[in-house]
Symmetry: C2
Subunit: 344 residues, 2 copies
Amino acid sequence: MQLVRLAVDCMGGDQGPAMTLPACKSFLASHPQAHLVLVGRADVLAQAKAWPRCTLVEATEVVEMHDPVELALRRKKDSSMRVAISQLKPDEQGRASADACVSAGNTGALMALSRYLLKTVDGIDRPAIASALPNQTGGSTTVLDLGANVDCSAEHLLQFAVMGSALVAAISEKAAPTVGLLNVGEEVIKGSEVIKQAGELLRAAHAAGQINFHGNVEGNDIFKGTTDIVVCDGFVGNVALKAAEGLAGMIGAQLKAEFGASWLSKLSALAALPVLRRFKHRVDHRRFNGAALLGLRGLVFKSHGSADAFSFECALTRAYEAARHDLLDGVHARVAATLAAAPQ
Amino acid sequence: MQLVRLAVDCMGGDQGPAMTLPACKSFLASHPQAHLVLVGRADVLAQAKAWPRCTLVEATEVVEMHDPVELALRRKKDSSMRVAISQLKPDEQGRASADACVSAGNTGALMALSRYLLKTVDGIDRPAIASALPNQTGGSTTVLDLGANVDCSAEHLLQFAVMGSALVAAISEKAAPTVGLLNVGEEVIKGSEVIKQAGELLRAAHAAGQINFHGNVEGNDIFKGTTDIVVCDGFVGNVALKAAEGLAGMIGAQLKAEFGASWLSKLSALAALPVLRRFKHRVDHRRFNGAALLGLRGLVFKSHGSADAFSFECALTRAYEAARHDLLDGVHARVAATLAAAPQ
């Protein structure tokens, strides 16, 4: 089996190399088929010199978390983020230096640089951000778009459905993952004009065998796991994701507060510790870190900026699995098939 | 002090009178200043004949949970829901039979009937659904719209901000509650075109002293309690609310599953019981039941259809507090002041 090569922006994320490098080291140890292209400042990369299956690529600049997109795009031409994405560009012989790229940096900059350097797949107007969220079945629901596109047309939502299906088919090896259209009710007549039109396009694509469309779903279906994929515009997806994060944070804080409220409750927390640990593991969002930027001519994965090393390693694993299962070819093929069947 | 009179649709909700009547009985016992106008079928109302501070009003029909809006509006002219809302209409002397109305019935029908029977306040195009959600400060965040309007203009979002301010000012007695505009980032340049325009209108209304506008907020701010009020279009609000409900359901189920997994974990649950009970109380969404339909010439409150008696009683209490604090006059006054100041 061939090595799977991941380009890693070692400078990205709130903690930067102090978080990315330990994650890379641990990832290499557990993935003997992986090769990492580590991108960052020379002084940072020095510690990885003796690591196995590694290429070190220097980049003198860093895109900061609050840098405007323009700055990342037009000024910082030697940023670790930019150089990491560039590893995905094929050379004259059609060979790229990496199969996928992972960064925990600034989302806006990552999306803009990826679009600029890699371009979109034929038939895709806008890339989308897709992430897996845990659901009640014990599996996960892949939701897209999570914030790349705040105003979407019905056609964009169809493109998201096709790309999301390719992602889940590649990673989960479900041949025909189900797709739900996020709406305010299950009935076909519900929703905004764009959503109703999108519903028609999705039903037509289902009839043509391009996607496995379940129908409308509601916000709670994301966590019920009603469908494998949920499509929505980036505004709605971003708000829903952050609302869920906010609620999870509140519940966690309150559970902690109640168990820490008195000596007696602390004692009962001690008794409940193994249970609480298992519970924490089950709802641990860090395990689901690693959002795919879909629709580009290259596999780019975004880690949460606040990721710790464990969480960043999960993002590396997602990117690795996507590359190993030829997600890029899957997206190309599915999009091409849908386009070929679309009425001209 | 004058009695506060609530009209109650006794037939609404998944459980109907088996849930509403026990709630009404308990509510009357704890609210000596309340008078209830109970609306429903004669056989159902019979059990309330001897109750104090009650008027019984018969209605022969029932709007079912899945009835189309058209049916409720044009055919079931003697439905308990319709008759209950009608109690808010002033007679020739300008006196109504009730100060507020509460129903756990079909949301679409309740909104349509309320609009038809009561009309909107001058200056309000569309009523909105506002509900309080618990937040990390121990208080609550009032979010609107939660699903009445799936396509909103910037002007509608301004109207929601004004009405939400009136609601929170009336119920919480905060004179100048803070308003956040739900967006995908805090920066002014973020969001869709409608959101950016709404931001301008809200800043202008803030400058004119009509609302206390904080700025953009994100999904997680709802549960952080960053602002007292969060405004958004009904599509986004509905998805965010239901996503949060879905996540809370998942977390609750997993916590239960982990504690029930073995004899040992059951034992530790027993030890942790008082803590888990307090935790459950803190995050109990039933306490926050009772959404206000704002912008109508009458106070209509919607209880969750799946409410139990405890939860429905909370909705009665919210309606009671709103009526007691003259929410209707508050909305009228705030909307009129904003309109008077708006550029023509």
